[in-house]
């Protein structure tokens, strides 16, 4: 146990140092994920045109929803598919495989510590958002923030594992990252980053509810903004655990099969 904690701590601190070296790039990268902020402006405009409210959302609620969606999106970003694809096809996975630790944990530490590098800039954007739309209440109380922390962590794990599964496909296909690009398109529409799911046609929403996507952004946002209460929060967290577990199992199965196909090219 002590050795495990030590491993986690060393990996975290070393990767934090690594990510800090990329802080400028990370900020630029954050800006490229600004869709929810753009959508916020669009929907607020729509609400104003409709006389202050549309579909049960007023200006402040839209602002809270999209700010929370943006935060969530920032916190669940995962690029491991791209990294893994590169490592597998270029043979850079080899030195990682020689060590007595699943290479996944190093990627995980990298992603996790990168969140800390993002944090200061995120707080800045949140403050700006709250200033631009006066009267916006991002969250009702500290309890919801803490539940959101759990929920967004689970969302991150799920997104990370989805990306990992996609990356593993590089054992079979030459361009696994193409599938991850497809994920981005799907995620934009299905996670609720474009619009709250309330605005979707009921049939489409019924379908989306059976995918992991709304549990990546839409539901964590509801937890943070206080739109979700007691029983709903319990259900959301439960479903999130199930999705994360499902992708964990899938990841392991794909990993074992993929390793048998590893070519260890180069060098």
């Amino acid at each position: 146990m002590r050795a495990r904690l030590n491993k986690a701590w060393v990996l975290f601190s070393v990767w934090f140092a690594h990510m800090s070296a990329y802080r400028a790039e990370i900020i630029i990268w954050m800006l490229s994920g600004a869709i929810p902020l753009i959508m916020m402006a669009v929907w607020i405009g729509k609400a104003r045109a409709a006389g202050g409210e549309t579909g049960g959302f007023n200006e402040q609620q839209f602002a809270a929803y999209f700010l929370a969606a943006w935060i969530t999106q920032q916190l669940i970003v995962a690029w491991v598919a791209w990294e893994l694809d590169y490592q597998i096809r270029q043979g850079h996975l080899s030195p990682k495989l020689l060590r007595p630790m699943d290479p996944m944990w190093e990627h995980f530490a990298g992603h996790y510590s990168e969140r800390l590098v993002r944090l200061p800039f995120m707080l800045l954007i949140i403050a700006a958002g709250l200033f631009i739309v006066p009267g916006t209440r991002l969250t009702p109380d500290i309890g919801h923030v803490m539940l959101y922390a759990v929920s967004v962590s689970l969302a991150f794990c799920t997104r990370f594992l989805i990306a990992y599964c996609i990356g593993i496909l590089a054992f079979w296909f030459d361009q696994a990252t193409a599938i991850d690009d497809f994920y981005f398109v799907a995620a934009a529409f299905l996670t609720g980053a474009f619009a709250p799911l309330e605005f979707y046609p009921p049939a489409l929403r019924g379908f989306i509810e059976w995918t992991p996507f709304p549990y990546l952004v839409y539901y964590p946002v509801r937890v943070l903004t206080g739109a979700a209460q007691g029983p709903e929060i319990v259900r959301v967290l439960g479903v999130q655990v199930l999705w994360a577990a499902a992708f964990y199992v899938l990841r392991l199965a794909l990993w074992r099969r993929g390793l048998a196909r590893y070519g260890a090219v180069g060098a």
């Binding site: 050795a3 060393v10 070393v14 850079h92 080899s94 020689l98 060590r99 007595p100 190093e106 060098a267």
Partner: protein, 416 residues
Amino acid sequence: MLGRQQARGAHPAHARPVQRLSVSAPALETTLPRLSTYREAVVPPVPVITAANRTSRSRTGRVVPLRMSHSNQPAPPAIQVLDLEKVYTVHEKEPGLRGSLASFVRRKKTLVHAVDRVSFEIDAGQMVGFLGPNGAGKTTALKMLAGLLHPTDGFVRVSGHTPKERRTVFLKNITLVMGQKQQLLWDLPALDSFLVNQAIYEIPNDEYRATMREFSEILELEGILKKQVRKLSLGERMKCELAAALLHRPRVLFLDEPTIGLDVNMQVRIREFVAEYNRRFNATVILTSHYMADVTALCKRIIVIDKGRIVFDGDLSALVEEAAPGKTVRLELSENVSDERLAQYGALTSREGLFANVLVPRHATSRLAARMLAELPVADVTIEDPPIEGVIGTLFAGANRTAPAAASVEVESATR
């Protein structure tokens, strides 16, 4: 490449290009069968492993020691390989748009036998050199031994474990150093990567400090450990790679081109380090290298691989003796002598005015040299073994030419 070879050649024999000494084809054809008889003589017979006990494991998942047909062996070898095979499927495409379109519809597949029924055993503490031309299958074999590649067929055991299972005990016991393939974090000082390895391998602090002190001294790491890895020179990086790969003090080392791209001094230093490590920890070492000096300095036993097959396994000195059954007598004459007269003693391999090289059969060297001294106007004479590069070169050339013969010999030795 050539420049480096020349720079390295403190010994004049090493500086010579590979093809200079080419023994004629008939000589080689007689050499090859003799090589394999030699191999049977030096290499202990491979234990007979039947299909039944090949995969034998107890219910607890622990590996059961193999039943050997010769049971008087005291300790099992550190590395056992039997009929190891790796077959790749390669997709081929004609160049250009037409080829791309054609391969879009139907891809042409070919099977490549990168490693083709290779068998050998290596005892604990032994240092063995893998030699072979590019693409011979050396690296593929090493990667299978290290558990990176799953064999297509065959049996591998490294210090009692099946590598592809990649168990923690196995991984803590081995290392594979691959040229400049980096395990170091590019944007951080090497020391950070060392700390990561310390944690992952669960190395206690005092052991870590002791190892680091030792490595710093031998490899002169002082002052480079705190620099960003990307700012290090190639040699410095290679030293750090090596230290990182050996931090957990593995007992089995697979070194794939550990000195590639390094200058002469650095090559010597790394060689000394490996030799010292082998002495200290009784580590088993398999080394591949393009630089013959690495191999001649470190390894007594040589395994030569060509086209995925073992063409020689035995002593380095025996390899020279068997593959190059001649010595070169270098003559400096005091007056001119006709080529025909020199050719009476052996094959005239070069002639420039008063300087002549005559290749003579190994067993008759002293007799013929004495005759030359007596019968010719000799100002100076030296007798040389052919350079090892040349020996290996002719061995490959011969193996390619007489592949069917080599194959039948392999079958023979396997059935005996």
